[in-house]
């Protein structure tokens, strides 16, 4: 960042903290001490797992969200709400279904109060630039996902923003469509035809980040922090098969898995009780399937994560929680971008259903404090029943309601599989029924 001091950066974020206040008056940090500067003529990527706060940071930058602490400076003055010169492309496209392509594109200009003739001229220009010519009068629902995101892009570009923000713009598209859109956008960018100065994009796709960005900021989760910053030295257009490109993808995988054990120790080192550890909702079917795949050839118990992601058609964002859940249950270990089955993992792969369930239950009681606590409480109660509410409350003291819900759902599903306890949805109650 210090290299671009020739003129002041477009956007600066200083010591940004975003917290979430729960009922218990405890603060949950979503973002912590984030510093960010975006210079002119660069594409910056925010890379991280879902829930790492990268989308939150994008909303802070766009002025949609007020940071709890810290300052955002836009073109030299501090930001108070959605600023002119910043336009956003949404993951879900956020097109107005009752407006045609043209009306959607013109919306931002109408809001600026531009006269009709200028609006039409600029809309025409943006529509042609982004390859939507001929679709002017179509409604969004008539278009494919790729075309819809082109409308989203045209709508953002038409206001000639200095900074284009993109929130996982290609993650709702299929692989081929996403690739076409990425290369189209990068081509326009390298040819200098986009009416923008810089781009800031959020993604959880490692290859996408390496393919498009000049600079990648890797986020760590819970709370979101910028864990490392990488420059991508390759000129556009980039070749995914280039060994240097592959090496960089591998390195980022390693970077993202290496943090995990340290994050775990940090959780236990803090005064947060162990039972309030956030769990990612990973289905037991996926866990079992993953163990089986790893145990079978060609992996024979050990796999390179990027290669595994490609083979199983999983994104890093899906694969990493899976790997972490296996690591938590001690069925596998993660190290330097690799995943390796443990002895327990190998036995699990070879076992029959009942043995697997027993192994899973043992692992839950040993390594998932929340599951162990639920079981213990149930055993102590005379009627072997306990309301889920108290566990939810406990979790919500230490994490956002969304995380708490996910965690509880995961522990319910895992506990059911391990037959450690059962759960009655109607009564919102755990019990030992059917498990004894």
């Amino acid at each position: 960042m210090d290299t671009v001091v020739t003129h002041s950066p477009l956007l600066e974020v200083h010591n940004c903290r975003q917290s979430y206040r729960t009922d218990a008056a405890t603060e949950l940090l979503v973002l912590d001490k984030v510093d960010l500067a975006i210079a002119e003529a660069e594409i910056v990527g925010l890379l991280g797992r879902s829930g790492s706060g990268k989308s939150t940071l994008l909303r802070v930058v766009s002025g949609l969200l007020k940071p709890t602490d810290g300052e955002v400076r836009w073109r030299g003055s501090s930001l108070h709400g959605p600023a002119e010169g910043i336009a956003m492309v949404f993951q879900s496209f956020a097109l107005f279904p009752w407006l045609t392509v043209r009306e959607n594109v013109e919306l931002g200009l109408e809001a600026l109060g531009l006269p009709l003739s200028e609006r039409q001229e600029r809309a025409e220009e943006a529509i042609d630039l982004i390859g939507l010519g001929g679709y002017d009068s179509a409604y969004p629902k008539e278009l494919s996902g790729g075309m819809r995101q082109r409308v989203g892009l045209a709508r953002a570009l038409v206001v000639h923003p200095d900074l284009l923000l993109m929130d996982e713009p290609f993650s709702a598209l299929d692989v081929l469509t996403a690739e076409t859109l990425r290369t189209d956008l990068i081509d326009l960018w390298s040819e200098g035809r986009l009416p923008i100065k810089s781009m800031l994009m959020v993604t959880h796709n490692i290859e996408e980040a390496v393919l498009m960005c000049d600079r990648i900021l890797v986020f760590s989760s819970n709370p979101g922090r910028i864990a490392s910053e990488l420059r991508v030295p390759f000129p556009h257009p980039r070749n995914r098969l280039d060994p240097a490109f592959r090496q960089m993808v591998d390195d980022i995988y390693a970077l993202m898995t290496r943090r995990t054990p340290s994050a775990e120790t940090r959780v236990t080192a803090q005064p947060v009780p162990a039972i309030s550890q956030a769990l990612h909702p990973v289905s037991t079917n996926l866990l079992a399937g993953m163990i089986e795949s790893l145990a079978a050839p060609p992996y024979e118990g050990r796999a390179d994560l990027p290669a595994l992601a490609a083979a199983l058609q999983l994104e890093a964002d899906e694969l990493l929680p899976l790997g972490e859940a296996l690591a938590l249950l001690r069925f596998a270990e993660l190290e330097e971008g690799d995943i390796r089955l443990t002895e327990a993992g190998r036995r699990f792969a070879a076992a029959d259903t009942d043995t697997r369930k027993a192994m899973f239950a043992t692992a839950l009681r040993a390594y998932v404090p929340l599951a162990a606590t639920i079981r213990q409480v149930l055993e102590e109660r005379w009627n072997h029943r306990a309301s889920a509410e108290r566990f939810r409350d406990e979790l919500e003291d230490h994490m956002s309601p969304d995380y708490a819900r996910d965690t509880l759902r995961t522990v319910i599903s895992w506990g059911r599989y391990g037959e450690l306890y059962s759960y009655d949805e109607e009564a919102d109650q755990f019990s030992l029924e059917e498990t004894d």
Partner: protein
């Protein structure tokens, strides 16, 4: 029908709380506050003799136009009310606290019971002139239309998708632009659907409000409603036939000319990301879209409205973050204000009760209420027993389900008053106890809501589940118990809630049936209110209406809503 939603019911999860109490107190307090004024204005009035209604069918077209104009005037008022009240409730946290429970209570209160007050009030505003009576009728129709429309709009405003909200903010739409570009379009499908329901429902009120007697005064306005009232009085069965025919034509006309095109047009506002098979284009819309001249006209009007909606109105300025922390002091002042309001309302209620009423009268209305409740529940469950099997049978046949839709509007609009002659003749002829004999009148008004919701539910029943049931040879009672009934439960309950509301309103009309000189009275809260109205006895009207509101709210909150929540949780994924 299968694609329709019932936004007004989405509030199902709201549990009774202190705000309901606030709302109830305010409604009753306001009601009791205007009674002295009403008593005062009652005396100097002379009935406007200028209006005479003729039973000659030749007058019917004119009457039909007058009635239709009245309904549309009320509709315009309802839309204006919806846009202001709904917006205020959705945008201001403080207003929301009181406005939403208030709306909920107003929705549950049998408006027909208030008719005598509002008539006297409006007539008092314009003494001796028809305008007052006219406004009173429009107001009565308005009260039957507005609440569900407003609720639907409020619900839509509070459920605007987060990404569109962010897009609107980040592209700097002004409040005015946001309203017309995002909020109104998003609310449109629900609003159109509720407007149709409102129009159907308001016929009942048209018939009741165009000719009304309070004490010794009778007011009547030229219209289908007063035509029917006169026909009932003079035992003219032919005239009733003419009135039904006129009603049918009016309903058909506004359905074809207005609602069909409106529904087809509003489909473009439906928030869906996949293109669904469009139903055939209504002929009026096709005419407007294809005929050159009409197209130019509709385009020009459309473009004009579009431009108005696109105006910024407010100057562009640096927008600040949307949510500011609420001011504690402001909240305290506001809550204090509401507390004062409630105290004043309670004081009113206490004064009212202590001067005009005895505990015995209250006990009597409670018993009457229980009798009416039994009648209402009987009507709903009888309708269910008869129409659920038939509705399922029809709903599983797509052609039949489609054909049934236009019939829905007419039948739902059909006011029970028109059946009085038949029922009264039968009851008198067979010498049946009116307490039992008049109950079918309530079923007449309520059954359609059950039927058409069941048809919608059965039509929307997933095809793969039907196939699975057939594949596993699930038949007979098991099929009903495990497959179809749970599948249509949310729809059935929606219908039953609407039907119950309609049935309570019907009691006021249907527990006293008049045919010429014969008047049959069934004991119940409805006849209690009707008789109090006839005698101009405001104290007892208020008591009757208050008790009835209490019954409606208690039954809704303790019975229907939990049931609806349960059905929705159970019968849907996720």
């Amino acid at each position: 029908m299968s694609s329709t939603t019932y936004p007004a019911l989405a509030a199902g999860r709201r549990l009774p709380n202190v705000w309901d109490f606030v709302a109830i107190a305010c409604v009753l307090g306001a009601l009791m506050a205007i009674t002295p004024a009403v008593r005062g204005t009652l005396a100097p009035l002379s009935a406007p003799g200028a209006v005479t209604v003729h039973l000659d069918p030749a007058f019917l077209p004119y009457y039909a136009v007058r009635t239709t104009l009245r309904m549309f005037a009320a509709l315009v008022a309802s839309i204006v009310f919806t846009f202001t009240y709904g917006t205020l409730a959705a945008k201001s946290r403080r207003a929301e606290m009181i406005l939403v429970p208030l709306l909920d209570i107003l929705q549950s209160v049998p408006i027909l019971g208030f008719l005598s007050f509002t008539v006297v009030f409006f007539v008092g505003l314009f003494p001796g002139r028809v305008l007052g009576v006219e406004l009173a009728a429009i107001f009565a129709i308005f009260t039957s239309q507005a609440w569900n429309m407003t609720f639907s709009f409020y619900q839509s405003l509070t459920t605007v998708p987060a990404d569109l909200d962010e897009a609107a903010k980040s592209f700097h739409l002004s409040t005015w632009q946001r309203f017309w570009r995002l909020e109104v379009p998003f609310a449109m499908p629900g609003l159109v659907w509720n407007t149709m329901l409102s129009m159907s429902g308001s016929w009942f009120f048209v018939v009741a409000s165009e000719a009304i007697t309070v004490g010794s005064h009778t007011w009547s306005l030229p219209g289908i409603g007063s035509f029917v009232a006169l026909a009932l009085q003079q035992q003219d069965i032919g005239a009733i036939g003419w009135a039904i025919a006129a009603m049918l034509i009016v309903i058909l006309l506004y359905d074809q000319l207005l609602f069909r095109p409106l529904v087809a047009w509003s489909a473009k506002f439906r928030f869906e990301t996949t293109a669904t098979a469009a139903p055939p284009e209504p002929w009026v819309l096709a005419l407007m879209r294809r005929t050159h001249l009409l197209r130019i006209v509709s385009r020009t009007v459309g473009a004009l409205l579009d431009t108005v909606g696109g105006l910024r109105l407010t100057p562009r300025r640096q927008r600040s973050y949307a949510r500011r922390p609420p001011s504690r002091l402001g909240d305290a002042i506001w809550l204090g204000f509401i507390a004062l309001l409630v105290a004043a309302a309670l004081w009113r209620i206490i004064v009212f009760i202590s001067t005009g009423l005895t505990l015995a009268a209250f006990g009597e209305t409670l018993i009457d209420g229980l009798i009416s409740l039994a009648r209402v529940l009987f009507a709903v469950f009888f309708s269910a027993a008869v129409w659920v099997p038939i509705g399922v049978w029809m709903g599983l046949r797509p052609r039949l389900a489609r054909l049934s839709q236009p019939a829905a509007q007419f039948l739902a609009a059909f006011p029970a008053n028109l059946i009085f002659p038949l029922v009264v003749v039968v009851v008198v002829h067979f010498n049946i106890d009116p307490n039992i004999g008049l109950t079918p009148l309530m079923i007449i008004g309520t059954q359609w809501y059950v039927l058409f919701n069941v048809i919608a539910g059965a039509a929307a029943f997933p095809g793969d589940l039907k196939e699975a049931a057939a594949n596993f040879h699930i038949g007979g009672l098991l099929w009903w118990r495990r497959v179809m009934l749970p599948g249509i439960l949310p729809y059935f309950i929606t219908g039953a809630i609407t039907a119950t509301g309609a049935a309570w309103n019907t009691t006021i009309v249907a527990e006293v049936a008049t045919w010429g000189k014969t008047t049959l009275v069934a004991r119940g809260l409805g006849s209690y209110i009707a008789e109090a109205t006839n005698q101009g006895d405001t104290a007892h009207i208020v008591l009757g209406v208050a008790v009835m509101s209490g019954f409606v709210i208690v039954v809704n909150r303790l019975f229907w809503r939990p049931l609806y929540d349960f059905a929705r949780r159970r019968a849907t994924f996720g």
